[in-house]
């Protein structure tokens, strides 16, 4: 079955005309704790294979686990941010199955007593009727440990079949994971793929805001499995679902859900039935293929982990963690949009550029919101794009941007000069004031030197001077340009023009 790459699909419009999709999303998040979930080994990504291991995470005989308190704290904070209830008492459980990348041949996880349960996350999706909010129910969030990583050597596919031998790296074994499982997601209709993507996007944003994980899908610190089923109408019972694994980008989530809907619909339209199975997503070809079917699925023989004591977070601790939570991202977005008084479209532009944090910080440092947006979405976005970095990673702080903008609004700098100051800050020349001083960039605001420069320019271009005197005010630009050139841009063009006209006794 795994070689079958030519399964029939139904056009998407036909799918949504005849079927109602139900989704279930399972997201695994690797926590960014300094040490593993049950031992003191470091969790640094990319270390040489099997260098971050000890008897416990290698599952050597006699070794025992000890729970990482920061891991529990992160799990509780995630649960709270997802509006979950936090268990007063819960246990770890062993999930028993044999696999070479599982050092103990059981995974220490949670089963029927998750640390967080029964919450929700609201996500916004653009629909034909405008932006619509979908409330995604959260079934549970529980703690577990990651497995090691197996690489199959030799053979054509890099997969286990046909490989000459396999190598296992246990550095990842024991890294804390939080698994977040949604309730069945219904009522999305044709927007199911977009809702799935929006959910993972929102979840990623929330987790990043909590600072519990680096949420890098490409490095596997955030992984998503998508359960998809179809039924004829929303009043029918759920259809048989498939679980698609290996969906490792936001775009892939949307594509995988869409593909699985079109594939299942084709099977059902042909009078067939869906096999409950695991399917693998193929990024390159954009399809899923059959993996292990659930008939062969293992009985994990869960039972409470006897090597660990129950987790009983005190209510005081939970409340303390609740009050220390950052603002919910959706609430924050709405608040900032209102405070700034900007349109949906303008807000979307800020979000798409990943500029929300820096703009907010720049405003907080004293800049006007419009100016803050102008700098970060304009000049700085251009530089970031050139350098291939995030805005926040540019060597300029929101406070420095606000400092430049302050110099503009007090008239010390004009736009052109301000860009040069920013260039100087980015080049490491110091604070905006220092760059202004060292590059000698301040606007000439004393009328004396400006009048001298105007007289000089008028003397040099007597014909133009006559035209202006004769009422051709639009000719003033040539003189203003000459003055600006003479002052190397450090003059306020508006002021120059006013002085010029005054000098010549003409009015606009």
């Amino acid at each position: 079955m795994s070689t079958d790459t030519t399964e029939k699909v139904l056009p998407y419009d036909d799918v949504v005309a005849s079927f109602d999709p139900v989704l279930g999303l399972e997201v695994h998040v690797e926590l960014g704790t300094a040490t593993k979930m049950f031992c003191g080994c470091p969790t640094t990504f990319g270390a040489a294979p099997n260098t971050q291991v000890c008897p416990t995470c290698l599952g050597l005989p006699g070794s025992l686990p000890v729970v990482n308190k920061v891991g529990v704290e992160s799990a509780i904070r995630i649960g709270l941010a997802l509006n979950c209830s936090i268990a007063e008492w819960c246990r770890f459980a062993r999930k028993n199955y044999f696999y070479p990348d599982m050092p103990k041949n059981f995974q220490t996880s949670q089963y029927d007593e998750p640390i967080a349960y029964d919450g929700y996350l609201d996500v916004d999706v653009e629909t034909d009727e405008g932006v619509k909010t979908f409330r995604i129910g959260i079934e549970r969030a529980h703690m577990e440990e990651d497995t090691g990583k197996t690489t199959h050597q030799g053979g054509a596919t890099g997969r286990i079949h046909g490989a000459d031998y396999s190598l296992v790296d246990y550095n990842r074994a024991g890294i804390p994971l939080i698994e977040i499982v949604t309730k069945p997601i219904e009522g999305t209709g044709k927007y199911a793929p977009e809702v799935a993507r929006a959910y993972v996007t929102a979840l990623r944003e929330l987790l990043r805001g909590l600072g519990v994980s680096d949420v890098k899908m490409e490095q596997g610190s955030l992984r998503c499995d998508a359960n998809v089923s179809l039924r004829r109408t929303p009043s029918d019972t759920f259809g048989t679902r498939t679980e698609t694994k290996n969906v490792n980008s936001l775009r892939s989530i949307e594509r995988a859900v869409r593909y699985e809907m079109t594939r299942q619909a084709a099977v059902l339209e042909d009078g067939g039935s869906i096999t409950q199975e695991t399917r693998h997503w193929h990024e390159d070809t954009g399809i899923t293929t059959s993996g292990r079917s659930k008939e062969e699925a293992e009985d994990y023989r869960y039972f409470p982990e006897p090597d660990l004591v129950p987790i009983a977070p005190s209510r005081e601790w939970v409340e303390e963690l609740r009050t220390s939570l950052p603002e919910n991202p959706a609430v924050r977005r709405a608040r900032l949009q209102q405070v700034w008084g900007i349109s949906d479209l303008d807000m979307q532009t800020v979000l798409n550029a990943g500029a929300l944090d820096v703009v907010e910080d720049t405003v907080a440092a004293g800049a006007d919101q419009a100016a803050a947006r102008k700098w970060w979405l304009g000049e700085l976005a251009r530089v970031a794009n050139e350098r291939g970095v995030e805005l926040a990673d540019l060597p300029i702080t929101p406070a420095q941007v606000a400092g430049v903008e302050a110099l503009v609004s007090e008239g010390t700098l004009n736009d052109k000069l301000a860009r040069q100051v920013i260039e100087g800050v980015l080049a490491g020349e110091g604070e905006p004031d220092a760059v202004v001083a060292s590059r000698g960039l301040a606007v000439v605001s004393d009328d004396g030197p400006l009048l001298a420069a105007i007289d000089e320019a008028l003397a040099a271009q007597p014909d133009v001077a006559d035209k202006i005197r004769g009422g051709k005010v639009q000719a003033a630009g040539a003189i203003v340009g000459a003055v600006m050139k003479a002052t190397r841009g450090q003059a306020d063009a508006g002021r120059v023009r006013a002085l010029l006209l005054e000098r010549l006794g003409v009015s606009e």
């Binding site: 008897p55 290698l58 599952g59 050597l60 005989p61 006699g62 070794s63 025992l64 686990p65 000890v66 729970v67 062993r94 028993n96 044999f98 070479p100 050092p103 103990k104 041949n105 059981f106 396999s166 296992v168 009985d299 023989r301 869960y302 039972f303 006897p306 090597d307 660990l308 004591v309």
Partner: protein
């Protein structure tokens, strides 16, 4: 010490004070025990590995510390036999199983580390039933241990090696582990003292798990005081074991020295005795009860109505946990690997071949039982019900300890049986632990000490004392009082009755 003193006959307390006083060197003590092992262990087979070099080096380190004027810890220079279920860095650790043959752990168990820190001289690793499953050491992959009282009989199990080593004067001290009686039952049938401390009192870090919620390491010795001295060395909180109790260790040594049962309420457990117990065991037990009363104890009968279900519950909980704990033995990362060159096997096939070849029949039986008991659809009926029984047994104990300060029973229903006698009858073998299992299910401490020889076979009989959790000191107080009175009656330690090897 005069040259004629047999250093292997001293108690641990005597040895330690002789070493501390400079009357004998730790190296001489170690050498005397290594000589004894060389002389008798081909017949007893208490040891799976003797680390003569390491033992002599550790002993010399103690001697050097003494010469340089360092204060020695109370057991410095005393030799000890370590059950092969605890890791010792660089020393083979097999758990009596073929599947771990050749494995040398890269780390010390916490118990091992504490022994080393205390200057205890580790002579080697002792034989045991495979992964501590059994009551006779016949389930060791490396051959049975023989009871020094009668080499044709079992030394108990799973810690038969540790008990036999002490009874055969190959070591004055040993470490055992007790999941359902593996310290206490061997002590009973070899005429020695063994204590299972309160669950969580001694760290399990580095103890290769059989059943995590039941396993507990503890001391084996020839006297109650020696056991107390060893107990105080190995007990105490360990952050590496989440189930370790973060509480002060009771003053067990002081209790052993106090040895006074006047006014102590001693409860005889009605359900642990009578039918099914050998006549000579019952007789010696009844005499001991009378002796305790003579010493001023207040003897009462208590009932624990759920104890008859303990064995059944135990044989669901233990195999369940064990089936998971033993999953890691798969030939991938350590130990035996079988069949990787036979054909072009998958990793699953190599795992299966390794496990089939590496585990003996009792381990296989319990892995299969546990796998079944935890399976979907059976969990509630088996594992779930067994946990409920466990709660009921804990309540029985709580009620009994309302009426009595300590509880007593025979340790085992019979004296040592013949090698091979029960090997083909697992249920008969399991019944050996009927009196010891309840303490494990409840997590409370228990001690076995010798109370005489059964008239019909001349073999040692053990009495079990149980106390509430964290009241381990009561065992030592009552045990030492009884031991002292028996010693007065007999005029010599019981092991002097054993035939010379």
């Amino acid at each position: 010490m005069t040259g004629s003193t047999d250093l292997t006959r001293l108690t641990a307390a005597e040895t330690a004070s002789a070493v501390a006083a400079g009357e004998v060197s730790a190296a001489e003590v170690a050498a005397a025990h290594l000589d004894r092992i060389a002389a008798v262990d081909d017949r007893v087979h208490a040891f799976l590995h003797v680390d003569a070099e390491g033992a002599l080096a550790a002993a010399k380190a103690v001697d050097a510390a003494r010469s340089s004027g360092e204060q020695l810890s109370p057991l410095a220079g005393v030799p000890l036999a370590l059950k092969d279920v605890l890791t010792q860095k660089g020393i083979p650790t097999t758990c009596g199983s073929r599947i771990l043959e050749g494995w040398r752990p890269p780390y010390d168990a916490t118990v091992t580390a504490r022994l080393k820190d205390a200057g205890v001289v580790i002579l080697g690793k002792t034989n045991m039933d495979e992964f501590a499953m059994g009551s006779s050491t016949e389930h060791s992959a490396y051959g049975a241990t023989h009871n020094p009282w009668d080499l044709d009989r079992i030394p108990g199990g799973s810690g038969g090696g540790s008990a036999a080593a002490i009874a055969a004067f190959e070591a004055p001290l040993a470490i055992g582990t007790d999941t359902g009686g593996s310290i206490r039952q061997p002590a009973a049938v070899t005429g020695t003292v063994g204590v299972k401390p309160t669950y969580g009192a001694v760290s399990r870090f580095g103890l290769v798990a059989l059943a995590s919620s039941l396993d507990q390491a503890g001391p084996c010795a020839r006297t109650v005081l020696d056991a107390a001295l060893l107990h105080s060395v190995i007990a105490g909180h360990d952050p590496l074991d989440s189930t370790s109790l973060d509480q002060p260790v009771p003053d067990v040594v002081g209790a052993a020295r106090r040895a006074d049962v006047k006014g102590l309420r001693i409860g005889v457990v009605k359900e642990l005795g009578g039918e099914g117990y050998q006549a000579g065991v019952r007789q010696r037990f009844d005499e001991a009860v009378a002796l305790l009363a003579d010493l001023g104890a207040e003897v009462v009968e208590v009932s624990a109505p759920h104890f008859p279900y303990a064995l059944a519950a135990y044989y669901l909980i233990l195999p369940s946990e064990c089936s998971s704990n033993l999953a890691k033995f798969d030939g991938i990362r350590f130990g035996l690997r079988v069949g990787e060159d036979d054909g072009d096997p998958s990793v699953e096939q190599v795992m299966a071949r390794t496990r089939a070849a590496g585990f003996g029949p009792e381990a296989t039986r319990r892995i299969m039982l546990g796998t079944y008991a935890l399976s979907a659809g059976y969990y509630d009926a088996y594992y779930g019900s067994a946990q409920k029984v466990r709660t009921l047994i804990q309540r029985d104990f709580a009620a009994a300890f309302e009426q009595a300060d300590v509880l007593i029973s025979p340790t085992a229903p019979t004296t040592a049986f013949k090698l091979g006698e029960k090997l083909d009858d697992p249920l008969a073998m399991y019944l050996n632990d009927v009196a010891t299992i309840p303490a494990n299910l409840a997590g409370i401490p228990g001690m076995s000490l010798p109370i005489g020889l059964a008239p019909e076979d001349g073999l040692p009989v053990g009495l079990q004392i149980m106390a509430p959790a964290m009241a381990d000191d009561r065992l030592y107080n009552a045990g030492a009082a009884l031991e002292g009175a028996l010693l007065d009656r007999w005029g010599h330690p019981i092991l002097e009755e054993a035939p010379a090897l």
